[in-house]
């Protein structure tokens, strides 16, 4: 087999990716996790988290009926509680984009579509291109593409870069989220490298995982990606969004992620324009905790609709 052909410019970009020390990353996260959120700050955090959710269904058995129900939930998280924020987006497969678009109407909630042969990314580029175009034609506001992890691990960085750049070119008005599937990438050094690569290739958002592989959005991985976003911002002044996905199912975890964002990136990222949670079951725990914070009492989970 021929060695991968990488453009010297790309190689010199990747050579600048700093080393990431795993032990130090874990300690940094542990420090954030001992922060204590009380009172108004906790309420505000729960509201922010709710507004940042990409409410997701990505199953082989998804149907228009399921997606319509999810879209209703997205607009009516818990009508018994007044003044709740709406979620940021609904995230579905390309085949469901049209259904979601219609169900969400003019609610302001975005439709995000996974793409490029999600979740494996193991398809020829022509298929990935059609996949993306189909989603866009059906009205997707955001494209969540997966990278070719196999090519990345084989050192074929140029291939991965070109693929992202080509999909970005298709997304004329849609925002592009690039999914790394960090659970397949072995080390934090690799996570940092792919983050720098994807940002250079035109990613608007970088996203940890498909939700199909464990581990998914672990704190050290998220911290590493936030570090890449921060360094890019310091160098260019350009903001890149972040989306952890997979495994963030409790309010406690979500709030810790937001504290991480606050300390590592700054408060400018604390909006759903720059930060999202990819999650299917997070919303209800946020609602439960929100209710608890307001009333001092825990409600039974039975009072919150499952979708």
């Amino acid at each position: 087999m021929l060695p991968p052909r990488n453009n010297p410019d790309l190689l010199s970009l990747l050579a600048k990716s700093p080393a990431i020390d795993q032990t130090g990353s874990i300690e940094r996260v542990a420090r954030i996790q001992t922060r204590s959120l009380k009172g108004a700050a906790k309420l505000q955090g729960l509201r922010m988290a709710l507004s940042m959710i990409d409410l997701t269904t990505l199953e082989g058995k998804d149907t228009p009926g399921k997606v319509r129900q999810l879209c209703f939930k997205a607009q009516h998280l818990h009508d018994q509680t007044p003044d709740l924020p709406k979620v940021a987006a609904v995230c579905v497969y390309p085949s469901m984009v049209g259904v979601a678009k219609k169900a969400l109407g003019d609610s302001g909630i975005k439709v995000a579509s996974v793409s490029t042969a999600f979740p494996s990314g193991q398809a020829p580029f022509s298929v990935k291109k059609d996949d993306t175009l189909f989603a866009l034609e059906n009205g997707a506001d955001e494209i969540d593409m997966v990278i070719s992890r196999g090519r990345f691990l084989a050192g074929d960085y140029q291939f991965v870069f070109d693929e992202i750049a080509a999909i970005k070119e298709l997304c004329t008005s849609a925002r592009l989220k690039v999914i790394f599937e960090t659970g397949e990438l072995d080390s934090l050094d690799q996570v940092r490298k792919i983050s720098d690569l994807a940002i250079a290739a035109g990613a608007d958002f970088i996203k940890t995982s498909t939700g199909k592989i464990q581990p998914a959005a672990t704190f050290p991985v998220v911290l590493t990606m936030l570090g890449a976003i921060k360094d890019h911002f310091d160098k260019t002044g350009q903001m890149i969004g972040m989306k952890p996905a997979g495994g963030i199912s409790s309010a406690k975890l979500a709030l810790q992620h937001l504290l991480l964002v606050k300390e590592v990136l700054g408060e400018a990222w604390l909006t759903n324009e720059w930060y999202r949670f990819g999650a299917s079951s997070l919303a209800n725990d946020l609602l439960l905790q929100y209710q608890k914070q307001l009333t001092g009492k825990y409600q039974s989970a039975a009072y919150f609709s499952i979708d």
Binding site: P18, A19, I20, D21, T23, G24, S25, E27, R28, T34, R35, S36, L37, K38, G39, A40, A41, K42, Q44, G45, M48, G227, D234, M239, L258, K262, E263, E267, A268, L270, T271, E273, W274
Partner: protein, 483 residues
């Protein structure tokens, strides 16, 4: 588009309800609370808000004499007669009681000394417990620890602890001493006596035989009386180099065994291939842990020139998310300076830095209106010859120097009378070994800082002292080996 979200954390105060502070503390001698023969007391205050905490007995020569006599009697009649296994049982019991009272000890440590509750709770108290557990395990294994060397206890040890880690330093001293079969008279620092006195209550609760542990509180004169006492076999001191030198002089011509753990001006070195974000975090931890009141604090930062600008920018950004304020707030990163005197010392050094022409950076943060507080402070544009680079400040003040080559940084790191600790940050394993072998420091941390473990010996080179505490080395300091 930049949003204008602000998200400030609400106060999250640790409750002080379970802490009981007596209005007045006596001396703990021979298992009992005894009013001082000196008839004098001093005030202990909370440095976070300058409120009065308790009156504490001020031991004089006669009080020290009583304490040493009690320790000697306990050594001769009780403690030296017990088997190692029996001594171990007492130590395990003390360790468990400390764990049970962990929250109370942590709050007390914070109230008395000003350190953030997060650190008292997550570092000081658990580590202190671990030291007792660790040395409890050695008590019946001294023959295995020193095979064919006939290890024997020294007798009575006089121990003097500093105010920066009151309970932890007590554990470092008392646990190995007792495990080896010695009895002790301990003098805690005058600003932070309360956890030592709480420890005395724990000894009572554990049923420790009377006189094995004696606590005499007071100022430097109490310590001097202890050091000068003729019936001691060992002096262990942790504190300033200036006092350490006096103690060493006082011990000349005596048979007292001496260990000194003194000051430091430790170098923290970042090479250009380092994991930068983690190194920056390590710098924060190295200098701002416990308000910089750490003998091994990484107070001299050396950054390779090619990454110096980036590291400095990252440090400044990181300082914005450091919370300075009420030590009882669970989110506080930097609490109160331990005493007014120490705050004045730190402020004098900051002034000196400005006079020496260094560039200062402090984050914009509001400090509480009462109590002793100091903003985290960076000094750049400093030279090796500046006094703020050479002298121990013992506060949240970091000097930042740049260097070009490894040879240069090793020379500069070693160019100090101190030699307690150092840090090295690089992604290259070979460099870690190469540099650390050349550094004259008792501890060298690689890609981390301020890591402590009971199994790991700790101590200094040069004017940072001699003798080791922790690990097997720590046992040796409380034993003699007659043939």
């Amino acid at each position: 588009m930049m949003s204008n979200t602000t998200w400030n954390l609400d106060p999250s105060l640790e409750s002080t309800a379970l802490v009981q502070i007596k209005p007045q503390y006596e001396l703990f001698i021979d298992g009992k609370w005894q009013a001082p023969l000196s008839k004098t007391y001093f005030d202990s205050i909370n440095p976070a808000d300058e409120t009065h905490l308790a009156k504490i007995a001020w031991a004089n020569q006669a009080d020290v004499d009583l304490a040493v006599r009690a320790a000697r009697t306990a050594y001769t009649n009780v403690w030296s007669q017990l088997s190692g296994a029996e001594r171990g049982k007492y130590l395990f019991r003390i360790a468990r009681l400390m764990q049970e009272k962990a929250r109370e000890l942590a709050v007390l440590e914070t109230l008395d000394g000003g350190k953030p509750i997060r650190e008292a709770r997550d570092v000081d108290v658990p580590l202190a417990c671990n030291h007792f557990f660790y040395y409890a395990g050695w008590a019946d294994k001294l023959l295995e620890a020193f095979p064919s060397q006939n290890p024997v206890a020294l007798g009575v040890a006089g121990q003097i602890t500093p105010w920066n880690f009151p309970l932890l330093m007590l554990a470092w001293k008392i646990a190995p001493a007792l495990a080896c079969g010695n009895t002790v008279v301990l003098k805690p620092a005058e600003t932070t006596s309360l956890t030592a006195l709480k420890f005395a209550e724990i000894c009572q609760e554990a049923g420790l035989p009377a006189g094995v542990v004696n606590i005499v509180t007071g100022y430097g004169d109490t310590g001097a009386a202890l050091v000068a006492h003729p019936d001691l076999d060992k002096i262990a001191f942790t504190g300033s180099t200036a006092v350490g030198k006096q103690i060493q002089k006082a011990c000349i011509g005596t048979t007292k065994k001496l260990t000194l753990e003194l000051g430091g001006k430790s170098a923290n070195i970042i090479l250009e291939d380092a994991p930068i974000d983690q190194a920056v975090e390590g710098v924060i931890n190295a200098i701002f842990f416990n308000q910089g009141h750490v003998c091994c604090a990484g107070s001299r930062l050396f950054v390779q020139e090619s990454i110096a600008t980036q590291v400095l920018e990252k440090l400044k950004f990181r300082l914005q998310s450091i919370y300075v304020g009420n030590p009882l707030d669970k989110n506080t990163d930097i609490g109160a300076i331990n005493s007014k005197k120490q705050l004045q010392t730190i402020e004098r050094y900051i002034q000196l830095g400005l006079e020496e022409g260094a560039e200062i950076y402090q984050p914009t943060c509001e400090l509480p209106s009462s109590g002793y507080y100091c903003k985290p402070t960076l000094f750049t544009d400093v030279a090796q010859s500046a006094r703020i680079v050479q002298e121990e400040i013992f506060g949240p003040v970091l000097t930042i120097q740049t260097f070009r080559t490894i040879e240069e940084v090793v020379q500069k790191a070693n160019n100090t009378p101190y030699g307690l600790a150092a840090g090295i940050w690089t992604d290259k394993g070979a460099r870690i070994f190469g540099v650390s072998q050349q550094l004259q420091a008792g501890v060298v941390w690689a890609n981390t800082y301020n890591k402590f473990d009971p199994a790991s010996p700790f101590g200094g080179y040069k004017e940072s002292g001699f003798g080791r505490e922790g690990g097997l080395h720590g046992l040796r300091a409380y034993l003699k080996f007659p043939n």
